[in-house]
Symmetry: C2
Subunit: 415 residues, 2 copies
């Protein structure tokens, strides 16, 4: 079966916000064997919505629509659905009670008429109860295609999709299984990898698809297959993946379906009852932010310092000022001293340290923009590596963050 996603809202089309909802919806639907054929972002405008609904109806069995359900008058989605379905808006008592409950419990004021108007829904819609907000989810149908309308607020949408929409989709449709397995590799480009695995790739059966997904220092290799029997799919894709892993054993770090690299580090450190701290200069908190975004980080993550000013590396971390004077602040010696002091300051088993020039200007450094030293202190000692990550600030920070996780994982696996 095929699904499509339609996001409604001028804010996406003028580039004011990035559409993160569609990725979440696609991934979730994929997980239960529903293939997303197309994602379309359209204007908050009746004619455009009607056209998009009609086009999607002709291609898909299920159309997920987000956005345009606010209490304010720039939102026209519900009225447009009535036109599309030849239906009319009626007040829904259950939705009204939910709105009143949310205002009483969380908003702590009396709802305005515009808030209460969110209880108006197309008469044929099945209501999906939104415990996180006042706009209800709606499940509607036209000529055997199901249309689901949800608010665009990400956590409301996520709740409705996983708790209300998914069980209904599972019940209604026979779905094939879709199975993806993704190998994470570090350190080689996609063309080099392709050259290395070309004989294997040529011989890949037609029903297994290979995709190369390059991004800043990583290439992910994804194998995908679709079919009625989940066990067979897993076996067929798994066997090919084993061969691929063997071919790329020097640069492979793990499978992404099972875990990403932070989660793998987290699991390893927890299983060994070891801990981590960070001293981030040029990455400015980006590594800590990725680590603490994952629940349970507090089990192994002791904490971090961002000694952004050169001087703070001495006063906060306590490294010897002469090391900076002799080697400059962006140097292997300073990176190593930061990591060593970080282990002592936080009492952790491992410490990661970064010092470099993210750009666009050089600051206190003499090296080129993009130069980054990453050091790791472990129970076995301390070492640093030098990198050149180019001259785009965002890319330097991201590449340094990725590289730091890669080095740390390799080091933990060694010990």
């Amino acid at each position: 079966m095929l699904a499509e996603i339609i996001t409604i809202g001028d804010e996406i089309l003028i580039g004011q916000i990035v559409d993160t909802n569609s990725a979440f919806i696609s991934k979730t639907l994929n997980g239960i064997g529903v293939k997303v054929f197309q994602i379309t972002s359209i204007q908050d405008e009746e004619h455009h919505i009607l056209t998009a609904l009609e086009d999607a109806k002709n291609r898909a069995d299920l159309v997920i629509v987000t956005g345009g359900l606010g209490p304010t008058k720039d939102d026209v989605t519900k009225e447009t659905f009535c036109k599309f379905l030849d239906d009319k808006l009626v007040k829904n008592e259950k939705v009204l009670q939910n709105i009143k409950h949310i205002f009483k419990t969380y908003v702590k004021r009396v709802p305005l008429p515009s808030n209460l108007s969110q209880a108006l829904v197309p008469s044929t819609a099945t209501i999906l109860n939104n415990i996180h907000g006042t706009a209800p989810g709606m499940w509607m149908e036209k000529e055997n295609t199901v249309f689901v309308s949800m608010p665009g607020v990400p956590y409301e949408m996520k709740y409705l999709l996983t708790q209300e929409v998914l069980p209904r989709v599972v019940k209604r449709y026979n779905r094939p299984h879709i199975y993806h397995k993704t190998l994470l590799t570090y350190g080689k480009g996609e063309s080099e990898i392709q050259e290395h695995i070309k004989d294997w790739e040529e011989a890949l059966p037609n029903d297994i698809k290979l995709a190369y997904l390059p991004s800043l220092g990583r290439v992910r290799l994804r194998l995908s297959s679709t079919g009625p029997n989940e066990e067979q799919l897993k076996k067929a894709v798994g066997a090919q993946m084993d061969t691929l892993h063997e071919l790329l054993v020097d640069i492979a770090v793990g499978y992404e379906d099972e875990t990403n690299i932070q989660e793998r580090i987290s699991a390893l450190l927890q299983s060994k009852s070891q801990s981590l701290s960070l001293a981030e200069s040029c990455t400015g908190g980006a590594i800590a932010q990725e680590i603490t975004a994952v629940p349970g980080a507090s089990v192994y993550f002791k904490g971090s310092v961002v000694p952004y000013e050169t001087h703070q590396k001495v006063t906060v971390l306590g490294i010897d000022e002469t090391i900076i004077q002799k080697n400059t602040v962006v140097s292997a010696q300073v990176a190593k001293a930061m990591a060593t002091k970080c282990v002592r300051l936080f009492g952790s088993d491992y410490a990661l340290a970064t010092t470099g020039i993210a750009g666009p200007t050089k600051g206190d450094a003499t090296d080129e923009v993009g130069t980054v030293y990453i050091a790791i202190a472990s129970p076995k000692g301390v070492f640093a590596e030098k990198f050149s990550f180019g001259n785009l600030r965002e890319r330097v920070i991201k590449k340094a963050t990725n590289k730091a996780f890669e080095m740390l994982l390799k080091e933990i696996l060694k010990n």
Copy 2:
């Protein structure tokens, strides 16, 4: 004139990556008066690409296509453009030289045949030179619609769009002006705001459009207008915005077109030669990461500590252990002590501190998940506020980060 964006790649449709390119392209085109009518994400598959190109041709003057230009065999965009344009691939000498140059200078190995095949382009395409990568940009035409094909790698796409595509668009098309002005507000919901400004909104002229953009504790109010005369647009929108700002003076913090809140804080601190440091517990580096993502942060940002483990608040920040014992670690007293110690540790004028329970579990705390204290130490003293940000980890961190910036801006403006 109308533009459309087509992104090619299964990785978007299976939710493996978030499409950030489209937001950048939309915003950039909008800035030169080009309206983006629709964004469509499609499969890396010939028939789907052909259909999407044909549909877009019938609606738009300019179609920007990203993705599907890698050296590996899962990318079919160029071959499909040849079919669409009734053209054939020919080797382009300039592109070939660029590929060889990039391999010699950056990759530091001999290009493989698959790398050199990236020099094959449709014979009628105008080449847009990609200094950051081996896949060229291409400018093609069919029945008076221009098609631009670019690689999906974000920094390559950004370079090509701004340096190569934009000047050609400006030269070729007469464009109206599109003018947006966005007011940032904090602390009231969209329906409350609407109720408060309804008389003004009713009287808004038809050619000025108002949009409400709510997100975790903020509502942005955007006024938009399109027309031939830029000065008239700015004047008309500006006059309405002045009235709106006056109506919402208690909750308005600034205009987003001019600056976002971090940039405003940055500009204010720099103009006063004042500095900032952070002690982030529950936000885990998220505030530092947002601050250091902006070039020039080193001028006013001294550094930060993430004392993630309770114990580190004592050993690293140096707060009195009895304060924690008496009040628990998630308390106004601890937040204030963190901010005060942070000012001393980093020698900064301001410090922001966060302590709370991001969830899903409570850790060392007795309070409910979602409870966050944010403290600010300033030259005038220290204070803390308590918040309840719900029980979704990602949302708690994001809301606390937004709120911290809001409190800091207000405090700086007072001093």
